[in-house]
């Protein structure tokens, strides 16, 4: 019993460590006072003001666009890379490529950002593209570093996928390209979706890489938040953060609900099948 009590304390402490800051942020978003840390009574006025703030809303919209585009691009590239690593047997330098695809995961973001900035400047001087820095360069930069995550997810899914499924399709007369689109792709679709979501989230909250490769007039939401903190934080930011959290939490909640239901359905089906002999 005593042991249980200690464990319960450890649990509470751990969760407090994780969630007290977030709870504080939400709490102060309903603060009447302009000063973030002084409680001045309940109010929702910062939410109303947020909706009038074109700079913040514009940045949010840009961030969403960049996140969606780079997630899509990195899913395409990551799937191709994952497929090559998981399926084409042993080609020369496979281990090297396998290691190199995961290197961006551990590369410091400042270095990624700096190297991409240098590349874009060099490219602009050499071929005149990309013309200045803005949404295009941010999207490309985000694609580069999120692609590595997607490739790892897809590769591990493909490795666990029974290769005889693809062989069976080929045996039944489907050409390799058709096998990929009709058999492999639908089966790994969940991995692709989760890869896309991960890439989307990574892009959405990146501030370091974006700071290097963005130009005037293309400021993403995390950059706006980060820079506004330097001049004293406005409760509007709290309101915005709360809204973002609500959106993300709802998404995750619905997704896990759907998955749990599917899992239950599958278990029921399997039991029925076994009983049905």
């Amino acid at each position: 019993m005593k042991q249980m009590g200690k464990l319960a304390w450890a649990l509470w402490f751990g969760y407090a460590f994780l969630y007290v800051p977030i709870a504080l942020l939400i709490f102060y978003s309903f603060n009447e006072s302009r000063l973030v840390t002084v409680w001045g009574g309940f109010s929702t006025k910062w939410y109303a003001e947020l909706l009038q703030n074109d700079q913040l809303l514009g940045a949010a919209w840009l961030s969403l666009k960049v996140a969606a585009m780079s997630a899509t691009a990195s899913v395409v590239l990551g799937t191709v890379a994952g497929l090559a690593l998981a399926r084409f047997g042993r080609f020369r330098g496979r281990t090297l490529f396998g290691g190199m695809i995961t290197a961006p995961l551990v590369m410091p973001e400042v270095i990624t950002g700096l190297s991409l900035l240098l590349l874009f400047v060099a490219l602009e001087q050499a071929i005149g593209w990309p013309d200045g820095r803005g949404m295009t360069t941010i999207t490309i930069a985000h694609t580069t570093f999120t692609m590595a995550y997607v490739a790892v997810i897809i590769q591990s899914r493909l490795v666990s996928l029974d290769e005889s499924l693809e062989e069976a399709a080929m045996d039944l007369g489907a050409r390799p390209a058709k096998v990929f689109f009709v058999i492999t792709l639908p089966i790994i679709a969940p991995a692709i979706v989760s890869g896309w979501l991960l890439a989307f989230t990574l892009s959405l909250d990146d501030v370091v890489v974006a700071s290097f490769v963005s130009g005037p007039g293309s400021t993403t939401l995390p950059m706006v938040i980060f820079s506004s903190v330097k001049f004293g934080i406005s409760p509007q930011i709290n309101a915005l953060a709360t809204l973002m959290m609500v959106v993300v939490a709802t998404g995750i909640f619905i997704a896990s609900l759907v998955m749990a239901r599917q899992e239950r359905q599958r278990k029921r089906d399997e039991q029925m099948a076994v009983q049905g002999g």
């Binding site: 039944l172 089966i187 099948a273």
Partner: protein
């Protein structure tokens, strides 16, 4: 154990008929993976309508050989002909062959009907015909009402039949089956063996089946090739393989066997006499062997061909008769297995049907018993 083939030979079998052309011809095929030789200069001829079994333990190369027929592996050396056409360079999707996978490889995102229709769709068969053929083949495997289900909503036996239907629906001339019954439990396996043979005979398709289960190979196939370390040890009908194994490996792999070592003393046209220290008696066998007198050979005697008695057998001439003490008895219901320790120290396995009830059996532990067998029971093995 089922040793009698369920097929009754009615005509000259194709492999005995010199006028027949083999449907599948494997010529000196070798497959290496790095330094490992999976298949070593294998040659085989398989005829139309056969139910041919490739039998061997794991790592014997049987599955690699099957995958080369399907086109998933390329032979390092040698050639494969199917219906007279050299298969070199022909990809799996253009071969007149279908395969049933050990894991069944059912597409999890498609219903049973869609799984079965997949092959026909690739060939551009009209929709109405697809529907008709899928329905017919599902009826054949008794899954008519399950067409709309997904693979995970089926039991193991049902999945096996979907996989069979999917590989048969394109009406291939040759069907390759990789451990088709491996994932089923024992009862279901026995029932399915007969179903497979019935379907094969009904459709007249040539089956090549890979299995590690010798009983399965014996009951289903018209001929068996026993494989060991990438080499074919022996090819023959189940009866030939069981009754006349050509090597110690085959004798020991198929069923159980007692091996006696001995020296040839007399080799005549109609019999051979072998003096065996192991057996403690002379072994008389009513067929000739082409070995010089004095050579050391092995003699294989199947456990069910040895008779046990408490009294010495009548008209015993000291040949094929020995004695020992019963050390172990395993009661299996229909038969009992006796382990008898001979005076020479060798342990011999004897299988006897339980004609009387267990409680009334005359022979029990530590009894001294006499073992005897007929002249046709032994097989001389020189390899």
């Amino acid at each position: 154990m089922a040793v009698q083939p369920i097929r009754k030979p009615t005509r000259l079998e194709p492999w005995q008929d010199p006028g027949q052309k083999p449907y599948v011809r494997i010529e000196k095929v070798t497959k290496t993976f790095g330094d490992f030789v999976a298949v070593d200069e294998v040659s085989l001829s398989i005829y139309r309508g056969e139910f041919f079994a490739l039998l061997g333990g794991s790592g014997s190369g049987k599955t690699t050989l099957l995958r080369m027929l399907a086109g998933f592996e390329t032979p390092t050396e040698g050639k494969i002909f199917i219906d007279g056409v050299d298969m070199a360079g022909i990809p799996p999707y253009e071969r007149p062959v279908n395969m049933m996978f050990q894991s069944y490889a059912l597409f999890p995102h498609m219903s049973v009907e869609q799984n079965v229709a997949f092959g026909l769709k690739q060939d551009g068969v009209p929709k109405a015909e697809i529907k008709e053929r899928v329905g017919a083949i599902l009826d054949l495997v008794q899954l008519g009402q399950f067409g709309k289900r997904k693979p995970h909503q089926l039991s193991g036996g049902q999945r096996q039949r979907v996989a069979l239907a999917r590989s048969l629906v394109k009406r291939p001339k040759l069907l390759l089956l990789d451990e088709p019954l491996g994932a089923l439990d024992k009862r279901l396996r026995e029932r399915t063996q007969f179903e497979l043979v019935n379907i094969q005979e009904k459709l007249g398709v040539t089956f090549i089946v890979v299995t590690h289960d010798q009983e399965e190979a014996m009951t289903m196939s018209s001929r068996i090739a026993v494989m060991n370390h990438g080499v074919i040890a022996q090819t023959g009908t189940p009866t030939e393989i069981y009754e006349y194994p050509q090597s110690r490996f085959v004798a020991e792999f198929i069923g159980s066997v007692n091996m006696f070592e001995g020296r040839v003393v007399e080799d005549q046209a109609d019999h051979v006499l072998i003096r065996s220290e192991d057996a403690g008696c002379d072994l008389y066998i009513n067929h000739a062997v082409a070995v010089p007198a004095g050579a050391t050979v092995g003699v294989a005697v199947r456990p069910e061909k040895i008779a046990l008695s408490k009294e010495p057998p009548a008209n015993a001439d000291g040949r094929n008769v020995t004695s020992g003490i019963v050390r172990e008895i395993a009661y299996l219901g229909d038969v009992s297995i006796y382990l008898v320790e001979l005076k020479t120290g060798k342990t011999v396995r004897v299988t006897a049907p339980n004609v009387v009830r267990r409680t009334e059996m005359p022979i029990t532990w530590d009894d001294e018993v006499h073992l005897s067998w007929r002249p046709f029971a032994g097989v001389v093995l020189t390899q």
